[in-house]
């Protein structure tokens, strides 16, 4: 068992090193950072005439949405592109021969390569999250200063009025709680889970695909369909007289195979500041994990069949 895990780890680490040395990370990261920066820029487009609290609400929403959107988008690009060429690259350059000539199981090889991609995604998401946190902190600083200015300029001697002091403290507390929201950790974890699932789907398709392009396009389609899986599921479960046979068949097929990616958009709720309990997040993460195990199991079986 342990030597097996060790071999998977060795291959995983090697895959990560390859990605890092081939500067995969830096190119996409630059764009990721640019986008996070642009979210800060967008936050300068504000609805005129708002009070400090309203203004902050609006701007922090932009920063959060754009920041997480960027993490999701560029994470998706990394997940998709890295995984799609993972196996084809090994087969084309035949480096797989040298590895499988050693006492390494095909399953260990596949899992090791996938582990490398997961590590790469974890690294990328962590770095992007740090940039995101920095942009949030910057927004908080700006917001606090602006609130202070508004009070000082429009309500002189506000410190003497208990009501105004209470209001000020409340505004400050509001700003801080919107930025230092522990639920953002949940959001990042859910985004990461979604990315790993995407990578898993790409891996499965790449085990039987003939070209990387095919893998990329098909995974992209499955990703889109995954957001409609809930609708398909409802259609299939409630199949009545109006649904034709092939409609309910298609809906059924989608429901059985494709994951419900739309349930991960609960991240929007978290970003809007609404309460999403950890229990629910852990539930979703568990779902992603189990689905991933199924994906990997099927990938291993298919890869075992493959002539190299």
């Amino acid at each position: 068992m342990i030597p097996s895990f060790f071999r998977i780890l060795v291959i995983g680490r090697n895959t990560l090193v390859e990605a890092v040395r081939q500067k995969v990370l830096s190119v996409l990261l630059i764009f990721g950072l640019v986008l996070v920066g642009s979210s800060v820029y967008v936050s300068t487009i504000a609805t005129p005439g708002l009070d400090a609290a309203g203004l902050f609400d609006e701007q922090i929403k932009f920063v959060k949405d754009f920041g997480c959107g960027a993490i999701g988008l560029f994470g998706f690009a990394i997940a998709l592109l890295s995984t799609a060429q993972l196996i084809p690259q090994e087969l084309q350059s035949r480096t797989v021969y040298t590895i499988l000539a050693k006492p390494v199981r095909r399953a260990e090889f596949l899992l090791g390569k996938f582990l490398g991609v997961v590590l790469l995604l974890a690294l990328a998401v962590t770095l992007m999250s740090l940039a995101f946190a920095a942009s949030l902190y910057w927004q908080e600083t700006v917001g606090l200063k602006y609130a202070q200015d508004v009070y000082d300029q429009h309500m002189p001697n506000w410190q003497n009025s208990p009501q105004l002091v209470s209001q000020y403290n409340h505004d400050i507390q509001d700003i801080v709680s919107k930025v230092q929201d522990p639920q953002l950790v949940e959001a990042i974890l859910l985004l990461f889970a979604k990315l790993v699932m995407t990578a898993g789907i790409a891996l499965l398709i790449s085990t039987f695909a003939t070209s990387s392009i095919f893998t990329i396009i098909t995974t992209f389609m499955v990703y889109l369909i995954g957001h409609l899986e809930g609708v398909a599921r409802d259609v299939w479960l409630a199949r009545g007289a109006e649904t034709s046979l092939w409609q309910s068949g298609l809906a059924g097929l989608i429901s059985l195979l494709v994951p419900d990616l739309n349930s991960f958009t609960i991240v929007d709720e978290i970003l809007a500041g609404n309460h999403v309990p950890w229990v629910h997040t852990l539930n979703l993460l568990g779902y992603a994990e189990v689905y991933l195990v199924v994906l990997l199991a099927v990938s291993i079986i298919i890869f075992d069949f493959r002539e190299i």
Partner: protein
């Protein structure tokens, strides 16, 4: 089936591999019912033109492909089992290694996959770098290596886990004669260590120098197999080696002597043994004194 130590390092029984051709609705028979035995400690050469089944045989013996029919065994074990592959080292024909790793990292990577770790691995890496002579390349990425260096790192990684059986696919292809000779010497050294070596090559002279036994393949079939001595020895003739040159008179006397012994054939020949071109080259390049050029040899 013997339960004790197997008597062959490599054994195949009716090993067959057929590939379906997608658009021709025919089957490509890459290997047709191969029966082969390699004894432990042998150096075995696989010969044959491209497409004759040598590579397919290697793939099947390494567990990289699954036979359509028949069976292969490595030390009595299935080739795709972990135990078998633990005892096997493979030098691929082309450098199927990661170009972004340097020499040390490559050996460390493959070593770890073979279960060699820690200080033992580091020691082994030092030994092998010395053995193959890659001191000045170990810190550079493989993509900057010359063909010769790639062969050397290839040999090193094949040996990293001290295997009992080595498969070398065209080990001297593209290597200069000096390096080629070094590889040849290495093979003999491995043989002395008791290892079994199976290698394929197009360079027939080299095969002749190291192999104990060879098999010749053609169109997926093994056509000929046997020890070099038995295969190459010409029947019904004997060579006599005499140090020094014989004058024409002395040659006549030898003929008379042979005639008295009952050998009167017209095909008795006297000739000067030749250096091979390789030997001349090596001596020249290594700075040894060149042998004096011979006068034209006489045929009588």
């Amino acid at each position: 089936m013997e339960a004790s130590a197997p008597s062959f390092a490599v054994e195949t029984i009716g090993l067959t591999k057929r590939y379906p051709l997608a658009w021709k609705r025919k089957l490509l028979v890459a290997l047709d019912h191969l029966d082969l035995q390699v004894r432990p400690g042998e150096v075995f050469g696989l010969l044959g033109p491209n497409g004759s089944g040598k590579s397919t045989t290697l793939k099947l013996l390494l567990g990289l492909a699954v036979p359509t029919e028949g069976e292969a065994r490595i030390f009595g074990l299935p080739p795709d089992s972990l135990e078998a592959r633990q005892r096997v080292g493979f030098l691929p024909e082309n450098p199927y290694f990661y170009a972004f790793l340097n020499g040390d990292e490559t050996l460390r990577f493959y070593g770890k996959l073979c279960g060699v770790t820690g200080p033992k691995l580091e020691k082994r890496i030092e030994e092998l770098i010395d053995l193959v002579g890659l001191q000045n390349g170990r810190e550079r990425p493989l993509r900057s290596y010359s063909k010769g260096m790639l062969q050397r790192i290839g040999l090193a990684q094949a040996l990293i886990h001290d295997p009992d059986l080595l498969f070398l696919d065209e080990p001297t292809a593209g290597v200069d004669p000096l390096g080629s000779a070094q590889i040849r010497d290495l093979i003999l050294q491995l043989k002395k260590m008791g290892k079994t070596v199976v290698f394929s090559s197009h360079l027939l002279e080299q095969v002749q120098e190291v192999a104990d036994r060879v098999a010749i393949f053609s169109l997926g079939k093994k056509v000929l197999e046997g020890s070099l001595d038995s295969l190459l020895a010409e029947d019904q003739s004997t060579q006599v080696h005499v140090p020094g040159e014989l004058t024409a008179e002395q040659q006549e006397k030898v003929r008379l002597l042979l005639g008295q012994a009952g050998i009167t054939s017209q095909e008795i020949r006297f000739s000067r043994p030749h250096l091979s071109l390789e030997q001349l080259y090596l001596r020249t390049v290594q700075g040894l004194p060149a042998p004096t050029p011979a006068k034209d040899s006489s045929h009588s």
